[in-house]
Structures are given as structure tokens and as C-alpha cells.
């Protein structure tokens, strides 16, 4: 049943990872939610990144096999401002992206999300992003990996950043570059916590996006054809299974009506108290599947 595929990002467990949880535990927690996909941070879950040992690779494939989880997306970063005095050259940035593409492929991932450096308070990516990606389109094609930058709050859907990525897709006609949507853009009620800290008024003033940028979920339909991956960002699902920040009914409705049939990868980013993420991810998996079932039963407009 259902056209969506459910996964979980190990980022959901950050802070817990390495303190109360091993990589194997993360696989166990994810598989037990009923999810079938695992997303990771490359420089994070991969010990010895960017060149894991043969022993670590054995462990990885053993876990993938044992827990029957499909590698979905690997997150990476391009450290544009590599030192205080100089930026990466195009060649260096393209080489770092190539390295991550190869690692992602080697581990079985089909998607790679690079995070580019930015040049402004509106988070315009360094213009070199286009050269980094273009030089790697053939490699990505050979490896069967789709590069997908993330549309992440405070950047909304209707914005020159998104437009530029779409223009690139249209211009190159590539199938190896697409949009990743982080559902935090739909957040329409304020967060109460950021990491392990309660948010105070001063933080809200400086980081207005903590209150939510409330992109209308219907706008997803306008860009759905370019979307290759969804990170189901969330922060707090209460004891009645109500999400306190993300309006999942209209969001899921829009996603399902668009015909999107890729991954929905749980990405918990709420209060970082130990072990909290484990159950929060379980709650979200139940909530999202319930809404998909309602949609299929014609109960979700």
C-alpha cells in the first residue's frame, strides 16, 4: 500500500549518536519503526571519512544486510571558506564533490546532498556551486547518484535560490540533479527549543526563522517535478500524535497529490535530551503513514 517510501535520517539522533547509541543501534532503531531506508551524514556516520577502512565497510554492508535498510541519501558539505584567508577553488570544490559522490555510491546511496557555502544573509549559494555540479554530472550519471541541494528554511520555495537550481536543471537537461525539500519550510508555529536550549526572545529576534517561514504547502505542487528527495523535518510531536510545528495534513496532501513517490526521510530536529529522538521518530513514522492511509481512503482532501 502507498506510493511513498519511508526512511529515517541518522541526523535525527545527533548528540545521542556516539553517546548513547552506536551505528548498529541506529540501524536497529530505524528498522523497528517500519522504515525501509536509512539516510546518513557522510562526515558523521562514516568512520574514517572520507576514506573508511575495509573493516568499517564490512560493518556497513553487514548492517545494511542484517537490518534490511536501503541507503537513501548521504549528506555532505563543501567547505567553501576552507581557511580564514582563502576559499576553495572551483577545482577543489569539484574534487570534494566528486569524492563524496564516489563514497556515497560505494556505500549504496542513490542521493547526495551537498551543502554549499553561502555569500549573503539570504543564503545565496556561492556562485561556484554551478561549476562544482556541472563538472560532476557525468560522474554522477555513471554512478547512478542524484545530487540534490536542500531547500531549507529560511529559504522558501519561491526564491531566486530555488529558481537558479531549476534553471540549471532545465538548461542541462540532467537527471542527476534535483531538489531536496526540507519540510521545515512549512513550519507555521514557533519552535520552543533549539538543540538542547530553550529559545529565548533574543534568539527569536536574531533568528526569526525559528518562528517558522510558513511556506504554503500548495506551493509544493509547483516544483514537485524537480523534487527528488524529501527530508521530513520535524521538532516535536506531542502525546496525542499532534505535530506542534509542521502542518502535516496539508503538507502530506500536497505531496501525495503531486504524485511524488520517492523517500520521506524522518529528520528530527527538536529538543536534544538523551533518547528523546528515538520515540519522536517513531511517532512521526506513525503519523505520516496514518495520513497517507487517510489520503488513500479519500479522507485527506
Amino acid at each position: 500500500m502507498g506510493s511513498l517510501k519511508y526512511g529515517v535520517s541518522v541526523y535525527s539522533y545527533v548528540n545521542d549518536f556516539g553517546s548513547v547509541m552506536t551505528l548498529e543501534d541506529a540501524f536497529d532503531h530505524i528498522a523497528d519503526t517500519g522504515a525501509t531506508g536509512i539516510e546518513i551524514l557522510g562526515e558523521g556516520q562514516v568512520e574514517g571519512y572520507p576514506e573508511p577502512s575495509a573493516a568499517w565497510l564490512d560493518t556497513w554492508f553487514g548492517l545494511v544486510d542484517r537490518y534490511k535498510l536501503e541507503p537513501t541519501n548521504m549528506c555532505s558539505w563543501i567547505d567553501t571558506r576552507v581557511t580564514l584567508t582563502r576559499n576553495l577553488t572551483v577545482e577543489e570544490g569539484a574534487a570534494d564533490l566528486a569524492q563524496d559522490l564516489r563514497l556515497a555510491h560505494r556505500l549504496g546511496f542513490k542521493f547526495l546532498r551537498p551543502k554549499f557555502g553561502v555569500t549573503s544573509h539570504e543564503l545565496d549559494p556561492d556562485p561556484q556551486w554551478e561549476a562544482y555540479v556541472e563538472r560532476n554530472l557525468d560522474l554522477a550519471h555513471q554512478l547512478g547518484v542524484v545530487i540534490c541541494p536542500e531547500i531549507h528554511a529560511p529559504t522558501p520555495i519561491k526564491h531566486r535560490v530555488t529558481d537558479a537550481y531549476i534553471a540549471f536543471i532545465e538548461r542541462t537537461g540532467t537527471k542527476n540533479f534535483g531538489l531536496m525539500i526540507d519540510t521545515g519550510i512549512f513550519q507555521d508555529r514557533p519552535l520552543t527549543h533549539w538543540g538542547s536550549h530553550q529559545i529565548n526572545d533574543e534568539m527569536r529576534q536574531h533568528m526569526a526563522f525559528l518562528n517558522g517561514i510558513a511556506v504554503p504547502p500548495e506551493q509544493f505542487l509547483e516544483i514537485a517535478q524537480y523534487v527528488v528527495f524529501i527530508q521530513a523535518k520535524f521538532h516535536d510531536i506531542d502525546d496525542s500524535l499532534e505535530d506542534l510545528n509542521i502542518p502535516w495534513r496539508p503538507v502530506m496532501s500536497a505531496i501525495l497529490r503531486s504524485g511524488y513517490s520517492g523517500w520521506l526521510s524522518s529528520e528530527y530536529e527538536g529538543l536534544r535530551s538523551p533518547w528523546r529522538a528515538i520515540d519522536q521518530v517513531r511517532r512521526q513514522q506513525v503519523l505520516l503513514r496514518k495520513l497517507e492511509a487517510e489520503y488513500e481512503a479519500g479522507l485527506l482532501a
Binding site: 548513547v20 543501534d25 523497528d32 502525546d239 496525542s240 500524535l241 513514522q285 506513525v286
Partner: protein, 134 residues
């Protein structure tokens, strides 16, 4: 690694085939501060959303073995190690609905070094836990 608390988040699940569930499982860490000969465990009462499933009928799964209460009481060789989880297996035709449940476990441990008349020590914990797949 196990969660700090007795009742684990992961492993709370229905058992039996989808559409014809026979019951559910609750994963716990050992309700003791040291590894334990199984005969020192005298069963586990489970309560879910107020419905009581008495210890006499529940089974304990540990590693690849499942023990009824009668079997547990006589099992003087096999042990439950401090780093291992076990699961309480509870009969309930149809299983539990997917969603958040209030789960309580009352583990009955026997300590020979407690006075004989109080040597069954009840250890109780409760939490909200989420069952993912109906």
C-alpha cells in the same frame, strides 16, 4: 547500547503475521543491577492503556529462546546478561493499534539475600511508547 530506562522505545511491536497479529512484544533491559539466572525472575505483568496482562500468561524472549513462566521458574542454567535485552511476549489477538500507548511493566525479581517473605521484589516502570506497525 540500551536506553537507560527499563522499557525500551525500540522493540515495542506487534507479533504474528500482518492482518492476523497474535499479540505484542515489549523490549526491556534486565530489571536488575547484575546478570541473573533465569529462575530468579518470576514473570512480568504488562499493562497497556489500563488493560492488564498478568505475569502468569506472559513469556520471556531472550536471545533465541522463549520461556513460559513455568519454564522460567525452573531454568537454573540459562542466564540473562547485563548487556542483553529481553522481550516480554504478550498474547492479544489482533495485536495493538499503531500509535502511542501507556505501557507499564511490573517485573518480579527474586533476591535470595532479601528476607524470604519479601524476596520477590516488584520493580515497576511506566512510560509512553509508540508502536509503529499495526
Amino acid at each position: 547500547m540500551l536506553e537507560h530506562q527499563l522499557i525500551q522505545s525500540t522493540g515495542f511491536r506487534n507479533i504474528g503475521p500482518v492482518g492476523a497479529r497474535t499479540g505484542f512484544a515489549v523490549r526491556i533491559r534486565i530489571p536488575n543491577y547484575h546478570g541473573t539466572r533465569l529462575s530468579q525472575l518470576d514473570g512480568f505483568t504488562v499493562t497497556v492503556d489500563g488493560e492488564v496482562f498478568p505475569f502468569e500468561h506472559n513469556r520471556l524472549g531472550i536471545r533465541d529462546e522463549v520461556y513460559t513462566l513455568a519454564e522460567l521458574r525452573e531454568e537454573t542454567s540459562a542466564r540473562w546478561g547485563l548487556l542483553e535485552w529481553g522481550e516480554i511476549l504478550v498474547d492479544k489477538p489482533g495485536g495493538l493499534a499503531a500509535g502511542i500507548h501507556k505501557v507499564e511493566v511490573l517485573a518480579r525479581i527474586r533476591y535470595s539475600y532479601f528476607p524470604p517473605d519479601v524476596h520477590v521484589f516488584p520493580m515497576h516502570e511506566a512510560r509512553l511508547a509508540t508502536l509503529c506497525m499495526a
